[in-house]
Amino acid sequence: MKKYSLLLFFIAAMQLSVKAQISINFVLNANPPARLSEWSSKAGTATLVISNMGPVQQTKRCRIRSEIKTIDGTSIAVTDALRTRIITVSPGNTVLSAADVLPLEAMQFTGSYNSKLQQTGKLPMGTYQLCVRLDSADAPIAITAQQCRNFTVTAVQLPILIAPAPDQILNAIVAQTAITFRWTNAFRGVQQDVPNYTIQVFEILSHQTPLQALRSNQPLLNTTIKGQTQYIWRPQLPFNDSVAHPFIWTLRTTDAQGALFTTEGNDDGRSEPQKFIIQNKLVAIKSTMKENKESQKQD
């Protein structure tokens, strides 16, 4: 018994001496990407600086223990000590990024948060805490104090195109003068500035599908509007013939600094595009009237 007490005392003493030498400084972006797997690919999301500055300079082995809590302190995710990687801390400063601070492959999420993560890759909208500390590599014993930082996640909502409606047929004579485009507002986290909307309209050629036209052609309209959710376009193009003219349009949203509003799989920041058609319906009526009269004459 005495032997074991001595051993425990020795380990604790060692840990205390290590703790005194190593400290951490944790910096977290208060509005990181909503998708947790993106943290590791977005530079500057999270930074952990480990300082090994003790009087006796030696390399230490440790693990990062990370825990996500709701704002009321309820734990919703924690790293699995057996699966986190061992970090070798050399004398001096070691700088680690989000990939080590939030190793998703080694984290266990609880209950509904686990389901939400598997379904969406995100946490429900709200404010959370991320708490970080260093543990011994050999046992889950803290060797630094814990540091917690708050962060808020809200997924991006790109604008939804309203008008013209999908596959709507616009009167050619009216469209030659003006076409009114409308869309819903974009939002991303806490609204700090007014977004910019770049509206783009592409002509669909006869051999193209709508998406093919969007990816192939130069846009006939490419203009940026600040904050407003409506734009009146004067096409300055003649449509008054017998042909139907199909177009596809979309929006690209940026913030005041020009950074795109992106969502998963949509790094282009483009809203789901929609097609509309410009056609002169009266030309069809005119042709029908002439054909009817000619057939009446023949009868």
Binding site: S37, Q218, L220, N240, D268
Partner: protein, 581 residues
């Protein structure tokens, strides 16, 4: 490009001779139909003052497009359709190939073949068996794949009422990132490979049941300089589709799909998310979710009625539909009916959309209603009324963001026609009123009222004994919101007439618009266009389109040096089309 042009000309003359009408009594087992040709497009822009940047070119200065689309047929059972469409000068603006423009980096052969500007497809078919080679735009179902062109190989078999389909190929080659801005730069892309498979039973007009698998994956090592903003993705979807058509026009359609989507294939393997081996291994950036859609209704001569629902899960994403917006539920009721001895025709629909049901961002609701009412009161007079209502609300006054938009659009269109012995007169009036209101529910609580009135009067005389077809229109457009008033007055006229014993069809149009923005002086816009369609012989036609657009500003640009600034834009499109049969 010269070689391609000469080759096409040789093909053209060869097939022209080969496709001469057979004068023998025996039926020729071989026939060819379809078209081939080329089109040149030229664009010019003159801006005054030069270098002011008041207007930028919106078409390529020159473009040459080729199409080769014959359908060769041997006997009753074997057909070989070609679908070759390609352009000389790349103009990609959006998507993975954006930046390939004249003066910029050159494409490799592989990149050129898979560039969405170009199609090279062959679909030989014998009875119920079709081989699909080259560029194909294949839609397997609404929730699996259908929106992208893939260059590859596959087949589509329909023995009796069975069906088996398979296709594999590449939708985009690896494209190295090139920094802009001069030349424009290329955003870059990973090479993306696809596989798709469908098996089931189908009897047209009766039923369709099909099981579909679709996979797409980006190859990480396909580029030397990876794109800085695009991550290499992977997706796998399996779906079951069931459509049934009953007697008396009743129908039922449904599809259920489960999808796996990996936002970044370089992230570590996940120990918690369930994989779907061997099709996809789950990673820490993988999401798994489902989507479903269903509709039921009846179509008949005198009325239609239908209801549909579509749900896309927050984590459902497929490379087959790259712009599909996830995390929403759509529902629609629609109807159409005739009344009063078929003199009244009414179409109506009402539907809604719930966005962001996963609670990962602010939830929002949309309501869309539409009614179109057409009545033929007599042979001379008819009336069309159209009403659209759109509502959108996201968040509330107590959330971090809240906005409410409501749009009401009403259009009334009476048309009157009367005839004499020599002509018919058609007079159409269209009045539209659009009322749009946006309320910000959080600070600064801005309210925006935006109203638009449009009045259009059109007169079309139809001559019985003359071949000219003129039309005349006057339009007034007025849009107002707080601090902003924009009015436009447009006068336009068109004329069509044949020439050269009706072998040449001409159509010209001229339009003048006077615009006034707030209290600034008016701007003026002239547009003129001419279309010609000349049938050189039974098989060859030459079409030409020319347009000119002249715009002169008032003083709305704000600088004294730009008062009266103007630009002249001209477009020419001319081409020859040969019809094989």
């Amino acid at each position: 490009m010269k070689t391609i042009f000469i080759t096409l000309l040789v093909l053209f003359f060869a097939t022209e001779n080969f496709a001469q009408p057979d004068t023998t009594k025996k039926q020729n087992p071989f026939s060819i139909s379809g078209t081939m040709g080329f089109t040149y497009e030229g664009y010019g822009l003159h801006v005054n003052p030069s270098g002011s940047g008041i207007y930028t070119p919106r078409r390529p200065w020159n473009q040459l497009r080729f199409n080769f689309q014959p359908v060769m047929k041997w006997g009753k059972n074997f057909t070989l359709p070609f679908n070759f469409n390609f352009a000389a000068i790349p103009t990609n603006f959006a998507g993975p190939y954006s930046g390939f423009v004249s003066g910029g980096p050159h494409q490799t052969i592989g990149q050129w073949l898979t560039n969405p500007m170009n199609n090279f497809g062959l679909n030989p078919k014998y009875k119920w068996a079709e081989l699909q080679l080259g560029t194909q735009y294949l839609k397997y179902s609404d929730l699996s794949t259908g929106d992208i062109g893939i260059f590859g190989a596959g087949f589509d078999l329909h023995p009796k009422d069975f069906m088996i389909k398979f296709f594999t190929g590449t939708s985009q080659q690896g494209v190295d990132y090139v920094a802009g801005p001069s030349p424009p730069g290329i955003i870059g892309a990973y090479k993306r490979n696809h596989w798709m498979f469908q098996i089931g039973k189908e009897k047209e007009g009766k039923y369709k049941a099909a099981f579909t698998l679709a996979k797409g994956v980006d190859k990480v090592n396909s580029v030397t300089v990876p794109p800085p903003t695009n991550l290499p993705q992977e997706s796998f979807v399996f779906s079951f589709l069931l459509d049934k058509y009953f007697k008396k026009g009743w129908y039922f359609k449904s599809e259920f799909a489960q999808g796996y989507y990996t936002a970044d294939v370089t992230t570590p393997l996940s120990t918690t998310t369930i994989s779907f081996k061997p099709f996809i291994d789950a990673r820490t950036s993988t999401t798994r979710d489902f989507a479903a859609e269903g509709s039921v209704g009846k179509k008949s001569t005198n009325y239609d009625i239908g209801a549909s629902v579509k749900y896309i899960g927050a984590g459902f994403k497929t490379t087959g539909y790259p712009f599909l917006q996830p995390d929403h539920l759509d529902y629609t009721l629609n109807t159409r009916f005739n009344a009063w001895k078929n003199k009244i025709n009414v179409t109506a629909s009402i539907g809604g959309r719930k966005n962001n049901m996963s609670s990962t961002t602010i939830a929002s609701d949309q309501l869309i209603a539409n009614v179109n009412w057409f009545t033929q009161f007599s042979d001379k007079f008819n009336l069309n009324i159209n009403y659209n209502n759109f509502g959108f609300q996201a968040g509330s006054s107590t959330s971090i963001f809240g906005v409410k938009n409501v749009s009401n659009d009403l259009s009334i269109n009476p048309t009157y026609s009367w005839s004499t012995t020599t002509m018919t007169h058609l007079l159409s009036l269209n009045y539209s009123y659009s009322k749009y209101k946006e309320n910000l529910l959080v600070f600064p609580f801005t309210v925006t009222d935006n109203n638009t009135h449009t009045v259009l009067l059109t007169y079309i005389p139809v001559y019985f004994n003359k071949n000219i077809t003129p039309d005349f229109s006057v339009l007034y457009f007025d849009n107002q919101m707080t601090g902003f008033k924009n009015s436009l007055l447009t006068i336009s006229s068109g004329l069509g007439l044949p020439a050269l014993k009706k072998k040449l069809q001409l159509r010209g149009q001229i339009q003048y618009t006077n615009g006034k923005l707030n209290s600034f002086s008016s701007n003026n816009n002239w547009i003129a266009s001419l279309n010609t369609d000349w049938k050189l012989n039974k098989k060859l036609s030459w079409t030409t389109y020319m347009s000119t657009n002249y715009f002169k500003y008032g003083d709305e640009l704000g600088l004294s040096t730009l008062i009266g600034a103007n630009y002249l834009e001209s477009t020419l499109r001319t081409g020859l089309q040969f019809k094989f049969k």
